[in-house]
Amino acid sequence: MPRRAVIKNHTLEALLFKRRALVAAIFSVLILLVLLARLVYLQFFEFSHFASLSENNRVRLSPLVPNRGLIYDRNGVVLAENRPSYQLELIPEQINDMQQTLSDLGEIVVLDDDVLKRFKRLLKRSRKFEGVPLRTKLSEEEVAKLAVNRHRFLGVEVKATLGRFYPLSKSMAHVVGYVGRIDENELKRVDEANYKGSTHIGKTGIERYYEDQLHGLVGYKNIFRSVQGRELRVLDKIPPVPGSNLWLTLDARLQKVAEKALQGFSGSVVVMKPHTGEILAMVSLPAFDPNLFVHGISHKDYSRLRDSPDRPLFNRSIMGQYPPGSTVKPFVGLGGLETRSIGYKEQINCTGHYLLPNEERKYRDWKKTGHGLVDLNISIEQSCDVYYYELAYRMGINRIHNFLHQFGFGEKTGVDLLGERSGLLPSREWKKKAKNKIWFPGETLITGIGQGYMLTTPLQLASATSILAMRGQVHPPHLLSQIEEAGNDEKTNIEWQEKESVKLKREVNWRHSIEGMVSVLHSIRGTARSSGYGLNFKMAGKTGTAQVFGIAQDAEYDEETIAKKLRDHALFVSFAPHIDPKIAVAVIAENGSHGSSVAAPIARKVVDEWLRTNEGRVDK
């Protein structure tokens, strides 16, 4: 096969290259012409079309953020407001010597390295005529100093923005809650159009529950922008509708008193008006400063709050679930009378312990020597356990469950807060379903004294006590009293529906149970007698102790040697006066050991404070 010549012919190759290069050049020019044709098409023939599209781009719809509604207590004390927060801004195009300006400003306000670094970063990205934030949260003093030195600084501005502020700080942290920056999940939950431009949203408490009312409706303006983005003129404008102001049932002063009384303990105090369901105070300790969350809480502060073993972020009043202990006795006793399991005057001999038939285990009374012969009144007054073991045994768990259920145990009260827990009212069915185990008779006994599986929240206790105090009338607890819509001078009262009353076959049974509770404070052997002195009316109450950990059979409970964290919780529920009640209080002091010596005095302080005021005054 003849091979092709392998010797290069340089002249021919140069010629070939020349031809090919010429083709390429012509081809390139043709393509340039194609590009040119495209430009002519876009810029000459379609010019007016694109020019008008470009004009449209210069019109911008920008949202006008509504002011958030304020929150007041029942007397008009501000619980949440919008305060101007001052921010220092620099307008680059008006400043000749940025370095000099920054060092001059540094003599007036605090500018640390982080602030300067962030500013320099922002400066690069910003437009020349727009204010670039240098410092946020200026103090009043700094604002004043800047005002005095204003003439020295051209292009330096102090800008006021509205930020949420909680004047009472810790006191209302759990109930009122706080706002914080909107996150992605929250944006999905709300109507995104209405939150255009909004930066904050209610995260917890009233701020969260009534977010829709507090937020208001966003407004819009259409602006025509210059090439640089400067606002030239407003084409049209829909003003925003500010959020509604909320008036709560809370009394800030009473809240403070309750908070102070509980000070030193973790726990909760819930105060209600039993005849309306209005919540007067709702304290949960320890608390936190909600203002920390508004402008973004620092990582350090947050992990400190989150990881604290005392759980300050946790609203114990509605989320804390505690065994009710002996505070449940007036209810169980009432159930005993109502189901005719026991007579009002019937006596049971308390020997200090109780034995179930065919069982060896001893169910002990808190008093080792026993209370002797005990009727209903004495059983409540002295909190005799054996009486309730016997009563519970006679009633059986089904009847106990069904009777207590009417007082809202084991159910959310439906208060206007999110995150409420339902507590637990045990029953045969519940145990079968939740644990797949049968119910033991012994469990009926301890349910009778509020131990075992039963759990209640402080709010539930206050609500149940209110129902008892009102002899069956059910006014569900709530926090919102009035709402003041923007543009409407009249405040609208919120009508809270009364629920179906607890009906007894014999109305007189109410009196029997309540009289037992009066004895707790006013009889010489009442467990809380020291809190009953010096009242010009009668107060009803019941102490309680909730076991934190189980004590082995026959072991002694020695509080001296038990670590504070393992001590029993102290409880007290009460209302006053015992006829036509004006106030109901539930107190839980965690690890307070004794309802009588710790929890009852707290309730007494609250009652004293409330009944001293005009609204709560008792006419004799």
């Binding site: 290069a21 390429a24 020019v29 379609e46 470009s54």
Partner: protein, 374 residues
């Protein structure tokens, strides 16, 4: 000054300096003009940021130094090193795929510890060098065997880069290699045949494309399909170009770019800023300037010393043209969105260095000719 009386034969001082530095004053004029236009547009596109200009100036300075250095290297030396550079380049490309850094969803960078390096960028120069080297001792037009092997050498880096995935660079590398084949005398019949074959292979290619790449093609065919998503870039850049009209809105007055409607307005879409502010007249000026540089590059190539110099010079000139065509075609909405910068104008350092290195080679081809010819 002894040369004064003989000045007919002595070029001016600046020309002599140019020659001493192995630079081509015609090409340098075109490049300089484009760089200046680029800085002017960048100042507007970058919202009048001096910092941006400073950074770009630094890059231009660096790239010019690279060009100057490359211009000193005779094309015979380049030819000698071509296969070795090609081998190193391919190895680096493989390394990138295995252990490269991921940026913007694609692996392009190789972290060498002291510097981050993009091997695909280097292949834009090395691939045509390799093919030109391969052709340099073969009779042209190439035989089938030669052609087949050359095609293989082109497709290796093309595929490796497409895998990153970096479609724009892959396209440019392929084009650079193809131009060597074309200038080397690839038969017309074969080209037409391959063209037909390629067209019929399009559905297969479609099958192998990433979703986003398919989206770009769909968007080109119908930008209104997804006006706020994939179609947004094209729509906004056409608005910018179209609203520029014949005379343009004037420097710093383009509202599309200043109100941030344009995407990537300092880099890939900078032509839209230019067209909005300088209009059709500015556009014609720019296209003519590019045409001028390309023609000058081809002229240098034609006058090249040997096969290697001619093929490399021609290929580099034409690749430069592909940059322009793909970028302007994309921004004006006649080609799909492919990440190719506007040569010598877009903000960014990597392409600037590559382009000026290529011009350095062209200048070397031009200036070393005289030393070589007897």
């Amino acid at each position: 000054m002894s040369g004064i009386q003989d000045k007919y034969y002595y070029p001016s001082f600046s020309l002599r300096l140019m020659r001493a530095l192995h630079l081509d004053h015609v090409l340098l004029f075109g490049i300089g003009a484009l760089l200046i236009v680029g800085l002017v547009v960048l100042y507007s596109a970058g919202d009048e940021s001096a910092a941006l200009i400073n950074r770009q100036l630094t890059r231009i300075g660096l790239a010019l130094v690279v060009m100057l250095i490359v211009a000193q290297i005779p094309s015979s030396t380049l030819r000698f090193w071509s296969p070795w550079m090609y081998i190193v380049g391919v190895v680096l490309l493989v390394l990138v795929l295995v252990m490269g850094d991921v940026g913007k969803g694609a692996q392009r960078w190789l972290d060498l510890g002291f510097v981050r390096f993009q091997p695909s960028e280097m292949m834009k120069l090395v691939t045509p060098m390799m093919i030109a080297w391969y052709f340099s001792d073969k009779p042209l037009p190439p035989s089938w065997k030669t052609l087949f092997f050359a095609a293989f050498l082109i497709l290796i880096p093309t595929f490796l880069i497409a895998r990153q995935p970096d479609l724009g660079t892959s396209l440019l590398v392929f084009a650079a290699g193809f131009f060597v084949l074309f200038l080397g005398g690839l038969s017309w019949r074969l080209m037409i045949g391959l063209g037909v074959l390629g067209a019929s292979m399009l559905p297969v290619l479609w099958h192998f494309m990433h979703d986003y790449q398919r989206g770009r093609v769909m968007t080109l065919l119908d930008p209104q399909r997804d006006p706020l998503g994939a179609g947004y870039h094209i729509i906004q850049s056409q608005i910018a170009i179209g609203s520029g009209g014949v005379y343009g809105r004037g420097w710093l007055n383009g509202s599309q770019s200043h109100l941030n409607f344009l995407p990537e307005q300092s880099t890939d879409f900078i032509f839209a800023v230019f067209a909005e502010e300088f209009g059709l007249i500015g556009g014609i000026f720019l296209l003519v300037l590019y045409g001028f540089i390309i023609i000058r590059g081809l002229v240098i190539a034609v006058q090249g010393q040997d096969t290697y110099a001619r093929l490399l010079g021609g290929s580099l000139s034409l690749t430069f043209f592909v940059y322009l065509f793909v970028n302007v075609g994309m921004v004006s909405g006649i080609l799909p969105v492919v990440g190719v910068p506007l040569p010598l104008i877009s903000y960014g350092g990597t392409s600037m260095v590559t382009l000026l290195a290529a011009f350095g080679m062209l200048m070397s081809i031009n200036s070393h000719r005289k030393i070589w010819s007897k």
